[in-house]
């Protein structure tokens, strides 16, 4: 398993380079213009000069090479400098001062470093989307297990009904419904998320929770619906297996049979689904973020796409790709842990 992991990590490097090349070419090929949002009152010649100021005049391979250098050579330097200067982890080390003013990855919309904006967006994304995912998974697993164990019971039927409706109602609808109910009618929660809010004491913590409730609720509903269905289906498959009967026949406690043996063997598809979902935490939730004005990475990505802000889109998409490759690798390793018969070598 170790050699497998090492080999996969090594192949990940060319894979990621290839993926970033494909994304870059895709964005190049896609129609669009960073000047699309500039008002029509700005004359075409001025727009042309603005494009040149963004570096759009240079040939495609040069621009890709520049991005590679900025992303894999200059940005790490900035990061190491930050680690040794401001972070609590390595701040005691002498300042490395590797970065000396070279051009970083610059966003076309804001003309500022892309990485700084991503770092600025991370807190709200992790708080809201990450929390929703954790809650969604924590609710989904027991629902799936109980639904399968008591198949066709009232609990199962209600669970099926709610999760299917939850999944088939898109967030652009459910989000507005909860805002109308909880913000407009009841006035319990704010409809607009304040990204500048700082949690310093109990009171501010309560404010933070109240502004997170609605987006987390909407997002967690989707996650719960999806994962509980896979959990249920997989448990059902395993509950009928011979080894379950053998285990029961040996006089094992029902609890042990279900929660240790069956659950462990049913986890493979669920682990896959969870691992597929984790990178999308970073990717944010485009529609839900928009509805609740959370302005996390999802909103950053969609505004960058609409503004054809190529460096921003490419960088976010690359980080996303990195997480996908990483978590799919983790899932593959977990398969081996869950079912030692699975071998890759």
């Amino acid at each position: 398993m170790l050699t497998f992991t090492i080999r996969r990590l090594l192949t990940a490097v060319p894979t990621l380079l290839f993926i970033s090349l494909v994304i870059f070419l895709l964005l190049e090929l896609a129609p669009g213009d960073p000047m699309a949002q500039v008002p029509l009152t700005v004359p075409p010649e001025v727009k042309q000069r603005m494009r040149e100021a963004l570096g759009l005049g240079e040939p495609v391979p040069v621009r890709f090479y520049k991005w590679l250098v900025q992303m894999f050579w200059i940005e790490p330097k900035v990061f190491i400098d930050w680690m040794t200067r401001d972070s609590w982890l390595l701040g005691w080390l002498p300042d490395t001062a590797l970065y000396s003013g070279e051009q970083r990855v610059i966003s076309w919309q804001t003309r500022s470093p892309v990485m700084d904006i991503i770092v600025q967006r991370l807190p709200q994304t992790l708080w809201v989307v990450g929390m929703a995912y954790v809650i969604g998974v924590l609710i989904a697993l027991p629902i799936g297990i109980i639904s399968a164990y008591r198949q066709y019971s009232v609990f199962d039927q209600v669970g099926t009904f709610v999760s299917m409706i939850g999944f088939s109602i898109p967030p652009f609808f459910s989000g507005v419904v909860v805002i109308v109910i909880f913000s407009v009618q009841l006035g319990w929660f704010p409809s607009i998320y304040d990204t500048t809010h700082r949690v310093v004491d109990w009171e501010t913590f309560k404010v933070q929770i109240s502004q997170m409730v609605m987006p987390v609720m909407v997002l967690a509903l989707q996650t719960t619906a999806q994962i509980s269905r896979f959990m249920r289906a997989s448990m059902l498959d395993n509950l009928g297996q011979d080894y379950v009967r053998t285990a029961r026949a040996k006089g094992m406690r029902e609890r042990t049979v279900v929660l240790i043996h069956v659950l462990r063997n049913s986890m493979i598809p669920v682990v896959t689904v969870i691992a597929l979902g984790v990178p999308s935490i970073f990717g944010g939730a485009i529609i839900t973020e928009q509805i609740f004005k959370v302005n996390g990475i999802g909103q950053l990505f969609i505004t960058a796409l609409k503004a054809n802000d190529l460096p921003m889109v490419l960088t976010v998409a690359f980080i996303f790709a990195f997480l996908i490759v990483l978590f799919n690798l983790i899932a593959d390793v977990l398969y081996g842990v869950l079912d030692p018969r699975i071998r890759y070598d």
Partner: protein, 334 residues
């Protein structure tokens, strides 16, 4: 019960048993109440959207400018007791804005909601089912190949990673750019867009299915019955069809159910971005999308399409449940 492991056995009596197997599946499927009701509802919806427009012949694109923003006829029940009956008999004089000409009401430019729901249903159902089928086929195929044949596992899974990482919007924009003209000259503007949308959704949503199926196959192929089948020289194609595929049916069924909902919603997101059908083409997702801003005044504009999407997804889910049970040899044998 023990004799049920016979399915894991390369059944020696083939031809005769094969037909019997499907009869068995049907017999088991029939006993599943949820599946029967689900199929009934599903077929009713299909029949309604297929034949409905021939019965309710109002043109879904026609704008009756004088009756804009009509409520649905059931809005009569919001009136005081005494006025309800007269509202139904002579809606023109009622205190709510209703008419029998448009029983489900009209939208803000006077298009008949019932006609739009019927017509939109055709497109949404067609897009949902076809796109789901494409995604499922691709996903299952790649998942099984990748899980079963170790040599192509690496390349296929890296391909999956690539597709997972591609941003959807630019991908679709590029597809539109490259293929719209060619497809619409070959299949007409609507046919061309249908193919484009269905393929677009299909090839951008097969990856989770592929990963899930592969994970299951990886575990499955180390099971005793597979090893046994292999040791007696079963060929890979037969192994996959007879032993592997039936055992990964349940995650595929779940993917199918979730896939329909995703496809219908994605279609509406696409037309919202101008990548979908022409703007005067109603679909359920689009009706829902357009209705959201009127939710407080005209709740029916979101309730009808939202409920229809949910009912379709629910019924497919129950059909999937029934099929899964019916295809599961252990349950069928009981």
């Amino acid at each position: 019960m023990t004799d049920q492991t016979a399915t894991a056995d390369p059944a020696p009596v083939k031809a005769a048993k094969e037909r019997g197997q499907w009869a068995d599946v049907w017999a088991q499927f029939r006993t599943h109440k949820g599946a029967l009701i689900g199929s009934g509802v599903f077929l009713t919806i299909v029949a309604t959207v297929l034949f409905g427009p021939y019965i309710w012949t109002v043109d879904p694109g026609y704008q009756d400018f004088r009756s804009r923003n009509m409520r649905h006829i059931l809005a009569c029940f919001s009136l005081p007791w005494g006025e309800i009956a007269s509202c139904f008999t002579s809606p023109d004089t009622a205190a709510v804005n209703v008419t029998w000409v448009h029983p489900l009401g009209t939208d803000n430019i006077g298009r008949d909601t019932l006609a739009r729901l019927l017509f939109g249903g055709r497109i949404s159902m067609a897009v949902g089912l076809t796109a789901m089928a494409i995604a499922l086929l691709l996903g299952t195929l790649i998942g099984i190949l990748s899980g079963y044949f170790r040599r192509i596992d690496g390349p296929l899974m890296r391909l999956t990673d690539l597709f997972l990482a591609l941003p959807l919007l630019p991908l679709l924009l590029v597809m539109v750019l490259l293929f719209r003209e060619r497809l619409s000259s070959a299949f007409g503007p609507e046919g061309g867009i249908f193919i484009l949308i269905v393929c677009g959704i299909g090839i951008t949503s097969w990856m989770p299915t592929a990963r899930i199926v592969r994970g299951d196959v990886l575990a499955l192929k180390e099971r005793e019955f597979v090893l046994a089948a292999r040791s007696i020289g079963t060929r890979p194609a037969r192994m996959i069809l007879r032993h592997v595929l039936p055992n990964v049916m349940s995650p595929i069924m779940v993917s199918a159910t979730l896939g329909i909902a995703t496809a219908i919603i994605t279609e509406s997101a696409l037309s919202f971005l101008g990548l979908g059908f022409p703007p005067d083409f109603p679909t359920w997702g689009r009706l829902l999308n357009d209705g959201v801003q009127y939710m407080q005044q005209y709740p029916e504009r979101v309730v009808w399409p939202g409920a229809l999407i949910s009912v379709v997804v629910l019924s497919v889910n129950y059909i999937g449940d029934g099929l899964r049970d019916a295809l599961d040899p252990r349950i069928r044998g009981l």
